[in-house]
C-alpha cells in the first residue's frame, strides 16, 4: 500500500510539473521577449504585470469552436495534438530532480528518453499530412526532414555522456557527474542543446512553422483547444529539453549551498532563458542551411566529442 501511495505521489508531482512549468516558461517568454524588444508585453490580465495572460488564453481556447476542415482526414487530424503532447509527459517520468526524486529509475533511461522524444515529432508530421492543406503539407515535410537530420547529433551527443558515466540511467549519470565534466563534455552539450532546439522547431530552427512563408505550417488548420494543446506541447518540450540538458551536461541537482531540486530548477530556467534569448537574437535559417548545419556542423562535432570522451575515459581509468 505504501508503495502504491509513493508511486501515486510521484505521478501527481510529475503531472503538476507538466501542467505548471510550461506556463511559467511561456510567461517568461512573453516578458523576456518584450523587454529585449523594448516593449512591455502583457500587462492587463490578472493585474500584476499580466501574470494571468496564459490562463486567460487557455480559457479562451477552451471555449472556441472546434473547426475541422472538410478536406481534412478527420481521425488523424484529431489525434495529432495528442501524439505531439503525450510523449513529453511520459519522458518526464525518468528525469531526476534530486537524489531519489525521480518518477522511476529505468536502467535504459537515456535510450527511453531519446526514443519517446522522437515520437513527439510524429504529431506535427501527422498534422501536416492530414490537414489537406498545401502549406501544412510543406510544413510537415520540413518537420520530417528536420527530425531526420537532427536526431543523429542528438543521439551521438547523448551517448557521449553515457560513455562518460558508464550507465544509461539518468539518476546514475547525475551521480557519476564531476565538475570537470563541464569542459570535457562542453562540445557535446552545445550539440545536444542545438539539436534539441531543432527537434522542438524553435527559432532559429522554425522552418516547419515559418509563419511568413507557409502560414503556420502543420498547425495552419488548427483552432481552439487542439491548437492550445500543440502550444502546450511546444513549451513542455522546452522544459523537457532544458531539464535533459541540465541532467546530462550540467550536473542536474549538483551545486553548492542550495538543496538539489532548487539547483535543478535554476539550471532548467537558465536554459529556458537561453532558448528565449536565441529566439529573439537569430533570424530563421533557410532550409538548406538548416540541413547543412546538421550534417556538416553538428554531426562532425558530435563525433569529435565521442572520440574525446573515449580517449580521456580509457586513459584515466
Amino acid at each position: 500500500m505504501a508503495e502504491v501511495l509513493d508511486v501515486a505521489v510521484r505521478l501527481v508531482a510529475i503531472v503538476a510539473v507538466f501542467l505548471v512549468l510550461p506556463l511559467v516558461a511561456g510567461q517568461m517568454e512573453h516578458k523576456a521577449m518584450a523587454h529585449m524588444q523594448s516593449r512591455l508585453g502583457p500587462m492587463y490580465a490578472g493585474g500584476f504585470h499580466g501574470w494571468a495572460q496564459l490562463i486567460a488564453d487557455g480559457v479562451k481556447f477552451a471555449q472556441k469552436e472546434d473547426v475541422i476542415p472538410a478536406a481534412a482526414d478527420r481521425r488523424v487530424f484529431g489525434l495529432a495534438p495528442a501524439v505531439a503532447l503525450v510523449p513529453y509527459l511520459v519522458v518526464m517520468v525518468v528525469i531526476p530532480i534530486g537524489p531519489g526524486l525521480v518518477g522511476v529509475d529505468l536502467d535504459a533511461g537515456l535510450f527511453f528518453v531519446l526514443a519517446v522524444m522522437g515520437v513527439g515529432v510524429l504529431g506535427s508530421i501527422m498534422a501536416g499530412w492530414s490537414s489537406g492543406n498545401k502549406y501544412s503539407l510543406m510544413g510537415g515535410m520540413r518537420s520530417a526532414a528536420q527530425l531526420m537530420s537532427y536526431e543523429l547529433p542528438l543521439v551521438l551527443a547523448a551517448s557521449s555522456v553515457a560513455m562518460a558515466a558508464g550507465t544509461l540511467s539518468l539518476p546514475g549519470i547525475v551521480e557519476a557527474w564531476q565538475w570537470w565534466w563541464l569542459p570535457w563534455q562542453a562540445i557535446g552539450g552545445v550539440v545536444f542543446f542545438m539539436a534539441g532546439l531543432a527537434e522542438l522547431r524553435r527559432p532559429p530552427f522554425d522552418m516547419p512553422i515559418a509563419e511568413s512563408e507557409i502560414i503556420m505550417g502543420p498547425m495552419t488548420e488548427y483552432t481552439g483547444i487542439r491548437f492550445a494543446l500543440f502550444m502546450l506541447a511546444e513549451y513542455a518540450g522546452i522544459i523537457v529539453l532544458s531539464a535533459l540538458t541540465s541532467v546530462l551536461f550540467l550536473g542536474g541537482w549538483h551545486g553548492p549551498l542550495l538543496p538539489g531540486p532548487v539547483w535543478m530548477l535554476i539550471k532548467v530556467f537558465a536554459l529556458v532563458f537561453v532558448v528565449i534569448w536565441v529566439r529573439v537574437s537569430y533570424p530563421r535559417l533557410r532550409e538548406d542551411q538548416l540541413q547543412k548545419l546538421a550534417w556538416a556542423g553538428l554531426v562532425p562535432l558530435a563525433l569529435v566529442q565521442l572520440a574525446l570522451t573515449g580517449v580521456v575515459k580509457v586513459l584515466t581509468v
Binding site: L11, I14, V15, A62, Q63, K64, E65, D66, V67, P69, A70, A71, P81, L85, V86, L89, V90, M92, V93, G103, V104, A108, L110, F111, S131, G132, K134, L137, M138, R142, A144, A145, M148, S149, E151, L152, V155, S159, A162, M163, G166, I215, T220, E221, G224, I225, A228, E287, D288, Q291, W295, A296, V299, L303, L306, A307, G310, V311, V314, V317
Partner: protein
Amino acid sequence: MDEYFGSYAVVVVLFAIGVVIFAGALFANRMLRPNRPTPDKLTTYECGVDPVGDGWAQSQVRYYVFTYLYVVFAVDAVFLFPWSTIFDAPGFGMTTLVEMFVFLGFIALGILYAWRKRVLAWT
C-alpha cells in the same frame, strides 16, 4: 524480472494519465464550445482566397536523401548505447577504443561521401 517490468508499469500509468488529460481537454471543450459549421468555415485556409486546386499539391521533395543518410547512421548509433556502458571495463580499454575509432571512421567517411556527392548542397 517482475520488478524490471514493474518499473515500466509506472510509465504505462503515466501514458494513460496523458491520454486522460487529452481526452479531458477535448471533453471540456465540447461542453463549452459553440458548434455552427458553415461550408465557408470548413474550406481549406489559403491566405484568405479560395483554395487553388487540390489539398495535396505536388512538389519536389529534396529531403529524401537525408532520410537515407539518417537510416544508415541512426542504425549504427543505436549500437553505441549498449557499447558505451561497458567499453572501459577492465581488460577492454585499448581494444574498444580502437573499435570506436573504426566506427567513427565509417560514419565520417559516409558523411564525406555524401558531401562529395553534393547531396548536402541544393542547386
